[in-house]
């Protein structure tokens, strides 16, 4: 019993050491390399970004400048490894004529990184600057552009908000989420889900192995959907009775809304075709061809409309 205090303090010291070791193991080092550059913008210039495992954010401002901030980060419990792995990442910027070309790559492709490596691009430019993004893994978030946007993505999530003009998007294994898009839009997707809300203009969507959820607005003039092995959910805007539909299904189920006059044009074991004529002056046309997938057509609900009205 006399040694009880000694045992008690020894136990406390042991516990303290364990806790300290655990705390040390629970932390990791974060080494960040930030590169900032600014380019003068004049009409005719365009920006091309080729990101690998990079999150690319594109935003606009009133200045006639293109500002680029690239953040490359390495995370590892040991500082030496984080620093060494970060050194293998390289950011390259080139200006060739009217084109500003930015990209990142690995110096040694065969190098096996021990750290978790991430790359972020933060780009701010005039809204009229054409943008071309190529993304292999990672993602792209673009907002407020007004001219031309081209995206070629693989394994990259694509988010677009408030973009007008010409859009050409190709994606594989990368979902697309878009809101407030207006213009001439072409989307080619494979194994990617597409979710578009409040979109108008002329859209052509070719999708394979995906789920499409489309909520056009009353400015949608022409929407053409070719969906293979994909399900399509179309949500008609309130007041969209002027939209004409031509729907074709091959080996799929269809669900159409009540209250619209549906004309069945073809019905076999495999193929079904429908037409829905506008109830009033035609404001747009939706053509959907779905193979080995289902098609749902429904009204946008009032909550969604209210949300849109609140934002505008």
């Amino acid at each position: 019993m006399r040694n009880l205090p000694i045992y008690f303090f020894a136990l406390l010291a042991l516990l303290g050491t364990c806790v300290r070791a655990q705390t040390e193991n629970a932390l990791r080092e974060v080494v960040t390399k930030t590169i900032e550059d600014t380019y003068k913008y004049t009409p005719g210039k365009e920006l091309a970004v080729e990101g690998e495992k990079a999150e690319i954010f594109v935003e606009t401002w009133d200045k006639q400048k293109i500002q680029v901030k690239v953040v490359m980060t390495a995370r590892h419990p040991q500082l030496e490894w984080a620093e060494k792995d970060l050194e293998n990442l390289e950011y390259i910027s080139e200006v060739a004529g009217q084109k500003i070309f930015l990209r990142n790559r690995r110096k040694d492709d065969n190098y096996r990184a021990k750290s978790e490596l991430t790359i972020h691009y933060y780009i701010t430019l005039p809204e009229e600057c054409p943008v071309y993004l190529k993304s292999h893994f990672g993602g792209a978030t673009i907002s407020n552009l007004r001219n031309q946007l081209r995206i070629n993505g693989e394994f990259s999530a694509i988010n677009i908000d408030n973009v007008h003009g010409l859009l050409d998007i190709r994606t594989r294994f990368g979902d697309i989420t878009g809101e407030r898009i207006d213009g001439n839009v072409v989307i080619n997707s494979r194994r990617s889900d597409i979710n578009l809300f409040d979109v108008g203009g002329n859209f052509t969507i070719n999708a394979t192995y995906g789920e499409l959820r489309l909520s056009p607005n009353l400015r949608m003039r022409d929407l053409q959907i070719n969906a293979d092995k994909s399900d399509v959910y179309l949500f008609e805007p309130i007041g969209g009775e002027g939209v004409a539909y031509e729907l074709s299904l091959n080996n799929g189920e269809v669900k159409l809304p009540n209250g619209r006059k549906v004309i069945e044009l073809e019905k076999t074991t495999e193929v079904r075709r429908f037409a829905i004529q506008p109830n009033r002056e035609r404001i747009g046309t939706v053509t959907a061809t779905v193979s080995f997938g289902d098609l749902y057509l429904a009204k946008q609900n009032k909550e969604v409309e209210a949300l849109r009205a609140g934002r505008n």
Binding site: L27, V31, S115, L117, F137
Partner: protein, 199 residues
């Protein structure tokens, strides 16, 4: 142009008298030009009073200018100091404008910090590959259209899985990439189940 009476012209020219310059012509010219004309002109010194008058006039005009009330402010030390400061500021401003207009290239910064280490990821996505390989071999042996279509789909997903694995090797265990791997594996499992039903 061709001369019609060439012979007649030639004979007439041959009859013309010939003259030669005197042999000492150049020597006589040289003698007449030495010494030069400027050296032969007479020189005159102005009287001393002309210089004195000139000097006096210049001195008076300078003192008039110096004492002019319009220019008196220039001698004010405050004005002089202000002028110097203004000049310096102007130079500074011009330097700043020139400096800012020159492209200095990208700015690079490094930073270090610490964060909580996330739980380690167990790379278990290759554990069922053996059964997949066996099934694919059976599909190849049977060579049926439905199965071949499913095999193509499975191959596409397997290629995507290899791409993701390559990214994990190159960029480490990023949770976002691991989620993509999980999604691909679920899709592969789905195709695998459809293959099993067909088999």
């Amino acid at each position: 142009m061709k001369e019609k009476n060439y012979q007649t012209l030639r004979e007439a020219l041959n009859r013309l008298p010939e003259y030669a310059s005197p042999t000492d012509g150049w020597d006589r010219l040289h003698r007449n030009l030495t010494p030069a004309l400027a050296e032969r002109l007479p020189s005159y010194q102005p009287p001393a009073e002309v210089w004195n008058a000139l000097s006096q006039n210049l001195h008076q005009e300078a003192s008039v200018v110096r004492n002019s009330p319009k220019l008196a402010w220039r001698r004010n030390p405050v004005v002089r100091l202000t002028g110097m400061v203004a000049g310096f500021l102007l130079l500074l401003l011009a330097g700043t404008v020139i400096w800012s207009s020159v492209d200095h290239g990208p700015k690079v910064k490094y930073a270090r910090s610490q964060e909580v280490n996330p739980a380690a990821v167990i790379p278990d996505w290759d554990e069922n590959e053996d059964s997949f390989v066996k099934v694919m071999a059976e599909i190849e042996a049977r060579n049926e259209p439905n199965l071949n279509t499913l095999a193509l789909e499975f191959d596409e997903l397997t290629t995507a899985k290899e791409d993701i694995k390559a990214m994990l090797v190159a960029y480490g265990d990023d949770p976002k990439i691991i989620r993509q791997m999980a999604e691909i594996e679920r899709d592969r499992s789905d195709v695998y189940r459809r293959i099993i039903i067909e088999l």
